[in-house]
Symmetry: C2
Subunit: 361 residues, 2 copies
DNA sequence: CTGAAAGCGCTTACAG
DNA sequence: CTGAAAGCGCTTACAG
């Protein structure tokens, strides 16, 4: 294949594919040592020699083998990312942001998706490549990741967990979801809402449990109980497409007497689906009911009314993560692992408003 | 740092951080050769010896240095991805899909964002790491990428361009945007629309020009001219957030006499923004005007009415790309570069309907 | 500037 | 099973 590629430009002498400094030195007609000194910009070389080497580099496209350098101990300046998936927009924003910050410092990024049961292989691969650090972004099987963290510690390889709280022994950066829910529900309580429909906030995951804790705390501060003030129909519907899931959940509530006056969703997609279904059923938002999402993605601006949501403060997450990681890599990390909670920001828009007067009750 | 990590588990003997087979062999009390044979699952070893090595691997977390293997000629099984950004959902779907296909075949992924002027550094880094192939996804500065392709060819490194047509000398997979627009406009012509508002379809980029060609072809087949049947207000508004951009563009058209009856947008976000602004101004969709997007992202299902759009057929793009890439890597590639056009799929939904009767004219 | 040598971590072929 | 050796591609210290 290389031959056919060079044959395409018969206007020049054929350029050989060069794969080592030895070959390259022979090609330029210099000693390997000299070539190496030019490549590493060492002093005491004649400008003419430097130019000769550079021109040959240009012509042949020769690049020194990084593996030989890393064997000699040069650090790889590579970070391994373990992602839950690349389909969650907020997770992608986090890798993208972190990658950007690390790239400024000269680091490259290896990105792998971690399937359940597949983390061992991925981490061993990262370790065999001698990455400078490993970052986990997303929510994984807790026991499995805990084992991986142990391995990374045994290997003295810096590591960081983003999003998932509860992995012991690892520096962690995570959104304070409990606090986010508490602030959102407090906002709705202040608007007079006393009954809440929960949309998709179900399951045993820590990230869900934290939210329920936040909701309960907000309700409790006004003398309401979680059981008395909230309702959920999650188990009645399959969660496939979040938008359709939100529609289905909301439709379940529409016909109910004693319909909640406020709906709080797991994420923005579910909230927007619910909002649409409510509007289609003739329920006015926010006059009849209020609807709120979570994550504050761009799509919050799409519906009319625009969606109230809880912002993840991704930039702050990224900055915190980058600083922790660089501190670890540069060896100035704090001795014991720390959990850094990011404070979410409530963004109130037109989809939440005063509770309707209680004519129904 | 390694010390503090192992001190945390005083219940076991401290585990040293082992970085080479030599150290490891000393630790297990075997010869380097023997350890190596166990690691490579060679025959003729006593089960007891194998167990001894494996237990020590488990305990120490030792992983052979991949750089030493690659120095000896083992291929890296790594693909370098050059992305325009990680903020375009369709581009992320493509990397994610391609990564998945390649991972099944044992390849890891290095992902870099290419900033204008920064491609040389990134490609040299990929080459120095001896990646098995390089993939470009997105739209880049044409001359710059053309130079990079030349370098990759000189280096005999397989490479593939996804999305951007017109880079000579490279296998290319791209959506046939011209055809997509032709089909969309034909659909609208059949519905009786004779005047078109173009939303954000401006600029010198090939991807835009192709669309205009497609629009013109569709119009021409019904005896209409591009100049006569289309209007654009793009230059009057800054494109910041696509959703707001769409709103602004649509508002500009609302007050016009001779308002177009159909609107065709650069992407789904702009179309949805436009749709909202039209509805807020009391224009009914699709009774008064039709609106169509491009890309057929999930958000097309969010507005009421749901958005007609042109699907990128991402799965097909990914499959084609994976096959081309693997063929190149395995050396069975066709001798000359090929451009593979992916046929888009028109997805008609409720946002497009029959043109209103021409009472206004 | 050249040239020979050492060593990074690994596998492999060879003699014991 | 052990042990010594060669070689992958590189840099560096050294003598010329």
């Amino acid at each position: 294949m290389s031959k056919s590629a060079s044959q395409k430009r018969p206007d020049r002498a054929p350029v050989p594919v060069i794969r080592s400094t030895a070959e390259f030195a022979r090609y330029v007609g210099l000693a390997r040592t000299t070539v190496s000194r030019v490549l590493n910009a060492q002093p005491g070389l004649r400008p003419k020699t430097i130019a000769r080497v550079q021109q040959a580099m240009e012509r042949t496209g020769f690049t020194p083998n990084a593996h030989a350098l890393h064997l000699r101990g040069k650090r790889t300046a590579t970070i391994g990312f373990c992602m839950e998936n690349l389909l969650t927009p907020t997770a992608v924003l986090k890798v993208a942001g972190l990658q950007h910050r690390l790239r400024e410092r000269g680091y490259a990024s290896l990105i792998e998706i971690l399937e359940p049961g597949g983390s061992r292989r991925v981490i061993r691969h990262f370790l065999s490549l001698r990455v400078d650090a490993v970052v986990f972004i997303g929510h994984f099987v807790e026991d499995e990741i805990a084992l991986r963290i142990r391995e990374l510690r045994t290997n003295a390889t810096p590591h960081l967990v983003i999003d998932q709280i509860g992995i012991s022994g690892a520096d962690t950066v995570a959104l304070d979801r409990s606090r986010g829910m508490r602030e959102l529900v407090s906002h709705l309580l202040t608007l007079g809402h006393r009954t809440y429909g929960l949309l998709g906030i179900t399951g045993p995951m820590r990230a869900v449990r934290d939210r329920l804790v936040g909701i309960e705390a907000a309700l409790g501060s006004r003398g309401l109980t979680f059981a008395g003030a909230t309702r959920s129909l999650d188990s009645l519907h399959a969660r496939d497409n979040d938008f359709e899931y939100g529609r289905a959940l909301a439709r379940g509530f529409v016909e109910e007497r004693d319909r909640p006056t406020a709906f709080v969703a797991l994420n923005d997609e579910i909230a927007i689906g619910a909002l649409q279904a409510l509007q289609e059923a003739g329920v006015r938002v926010p006059q009849d009911v209020s609807v709120a999402g979570f994550n504050n993605q761009d799509i919050c601006l799409m519906p009319t009314p625009r969606l109230t949501s809880v912002d993840q403060q991704i930039q702050q997450t990224v900055d915190t993560a980058a600083n922790l990681l660089l501190a670890q890599i540069e060896g100035v990390a704090s001795p014991s692992p720390l959990v850094h909670m990011i404070e979410p920001l409530l963004v109130a828009r037109e989809s939440t408003g005063p509770a309707p007067s209680r004519s129904r009750r």
